[in-house]
């Protein structure tokens, strides 16, 4: 299908046409931060943004989510499954690193003998409209983890910001059928395509942080007990900013919430984090990961060693949120540097 052009002034029209069919999620300003929320007005859409504070995984895997509801009738329990999973979702204006995270999440939740039906159903019913990242931040490193500021593959429809207009490309079948509904879009010219390509190139060049993650994985696999972990975890204060703002973190806790006056309740899941002491604390009092060193290590190992060995890809999309969020600036780039230093040092020894 041919590429189309969407004028920036026509976003409102796009919204009002799609809003009837889809639950329309878009980046919008909430208390000074960009967040993906279900919007009720096209004016709220904020497309000129760096990236959202809380990643858009929040839409498909919200911080608090009902697994099922229940009712007590005497000694009987009646379980009611969720009915809203069939709603059609539209996630508009997602950065490409986050769009890629949806693929990772989907692969993770679909892996193994048990599939997470709740997430997968939502994912199936969600259409993702991605937007190219013209000016990546200093803390971004998507190209090192197999992404790209203009990586179209993980979206359904792809937008690139050409100044006054957006170039619109349908990437998947879902995207094509969505574009068919927007028949009023004009056709793109060759110059627009060239411009988009140019922007992509510029964006790629703007990314200065680059890592060889194959090497990182190799070093991590060999150095579980290395003293560098002590150094890495030293200044960590054990808050969970990095994990809560991570687009690929999936850990959750399961809780029963009761409405005691009405003999009903719901089993919910809420985000949990490997940085919390309670995460692994057993009822007996034994804790397999009792200190910060183990918890910090678990986070890094999970993303860059366990993920590759279990799912054959890195558990990171290079969005840089953990880098900007860390309050003590104990950030990922430094950690990776320290890990790679192990390899350099051992290399020196061999050559010496």
């Amino acid at each position: 299908m041919a590429e189309k052009i969407l004028k920036k002034d026509d976003i409102g029209r796009l919204y009002s046409e799609l809003e009837k069919e889809y639950k329309f999620y878009a980046p919008t300003k909430v208390k000074g931060n960009i967040a993906f929320k279900k919007i009720s007005n096209a004016e709220e859409i904020e497309l000129e943004y760096l990236n959202s504070k809380v990643p858009p995984k929040d839409v498909l895997f919200p911080q608090k989510e009902t697994i099922f509801e229940y009712r007590y009738e005497g000694k009987d329990v009646i379980i009611e499954e969720r009915k809203d999973l069939e709603d059609k979702l539209l996630i508009f204006g997602v950065r490409l690193c986050d769009a890629y995270s949806f693929k990772l999440l989907e692969d993770f939740f679909a892996s193994g003998d048990f599939q997470d039906d709740i997430f997968l159903k939502k994912r199936e019913n969600a259409t993702i409209i991605g937007i190219g990242c013209n000016s990546p931040r200093q803390s971004c490193f998507c190209t090192s983890v197999g992404g790209h500021p203009f990586q179209k593959e993980s979206t359904d429809v792809f937008l690139s910001d050409l100044g006054d207009t957006y170039l619109v490309e349908a990437i998947s079948e879902k995207g094509e059928s969505l574009l068919k509904k927007l028949s009023w879009l004009t056709d793109a010219k060759k110059a627009d395509l060239t411009k988009s390509k140019e922007l992509a190139k510029q964006a790629e060049e703007a990314l200065t942080t680059k890592f060889d993650f194959d090497l990182v994985t190799k070093v991590l696999d060999e150095n579980f007990e290395h003293p560098v972990w002590q150094e890495i975890s030293e200044s960590c204060i054990g808050c969970s900013s990095c994990t809560f703002l991570c687009p690929t973190c999936t850990c959750f806790d399961v809780i029963d919430e009761n409405d005691e006056y009405n003999n009903r309740g719901r089993r919910i899941r809420i985000w949990d984090t490997c940085q919390s002491c309670l995460y692994t604390l057993e009822t007996s009092g034994h804790n397999p990961r009792p200190a910060k060193i183990q918890r910090c290590r678990n986070r890094i190992m999970h993303k860059f060693s366990y993920y590759p060995s279990n799912y054959d890809c890195l558990g990171c999309v290079g969005c840089g949120r953990c880098i900007t969020a860390c309050p003590v600036n104990n950030e990922l780039r430094l950690i990776i540097d320290k890990i790679l230093e192990i390899e350099e040092k051992s290399g020196e020894k061999v050559s010496a």
Binding site: I67, F68, Y70, Y72, K75, D76, V77, I79, E81, R82, F108, F109, S111, G112, D113, F114, Q115, D116, D117, I118, F224, T250, C251, F252, D253, V254, I255, D256, N258, G265, R267, R269, D272, C274, Y279, T280, L281, E282, T283, S284, P288, R289, Q294, N298, M301, H302, S305, Y306, S309, N310
Partner: protein, 279 residues
Amino acid sequence: MPNPYIPMLTRVKSIISENEVRDIKTIELEFQKEEKYKAFDYIPGQFAEISIIGKGECPIGIASSPTEEGTIKFTIKKMGTVTSAFHNRDIGDTIGVRGPLGNGWPMEELKEKNIVVIGGGFAFSTLRSLILYVLDDKHRKDYGKITVIYGNRDSGEVLYRDVLEEWEKRDDIEVVLTIDREEEGWTRKVGFVAAIVKEVAPSPDNAVAIICGPPIMIRTTVDELVKIGWKDEQILNSLEMRMKCGIGKCGRCNIGSNFVCIDGPVFSLAELKKMPNEY
């Protein structure tokens, strides 16, 4: 694929208080729908997420054997919020069950082999399941000699007295019971499990040792076994870990890249030695 987080509903059929202190109970559950029971196809050593809806969920090893038809059993010690709530249940109460989960004891690999079962204290539940399974008429011929070494702090803590007595009467299974300290009226062995293992000295030839118990018992027992020629591959353990989902999604029960809930809970000592020491 149905939502894997939704429990199947069962009812409490019977409750047995297992020990003198009365903080361990065995609860027998009957499925509310017959077809759900049919679908609940498990082997010894697997566990299930059982929940009191409104209180929470916890992973418990299945104590009954697939050969005991009609119901499933769990032995629960009163420890935290959910397990305490289990101790307050009455007959007829509704209980949710999700499972079976985990890999369980490798029943196929154990065939034709001698089995040495070593248990300590309350961790005997999945071992009970295993022994009942092997002793069943349908399966007995598939397996070799069975030796059971079961240790407890005192005689009041011995679980499953009825089946133990039955086993002691049989001649195709050797049962060695022990308690830590001498006690009046106790006619069986006295001493820590490791010491008894040394005394019994089970032969490693064509055999597999299955060990469940507190960490200190496991460590000392494994030392003894290694001394008399057992190999790491022949020693099986069942691990415990904090779990929420039981299906490899909630993240917390990983040891290295393995999840205890889906790759375990049964690991051989050889496998454990390859994993980081985070359990």
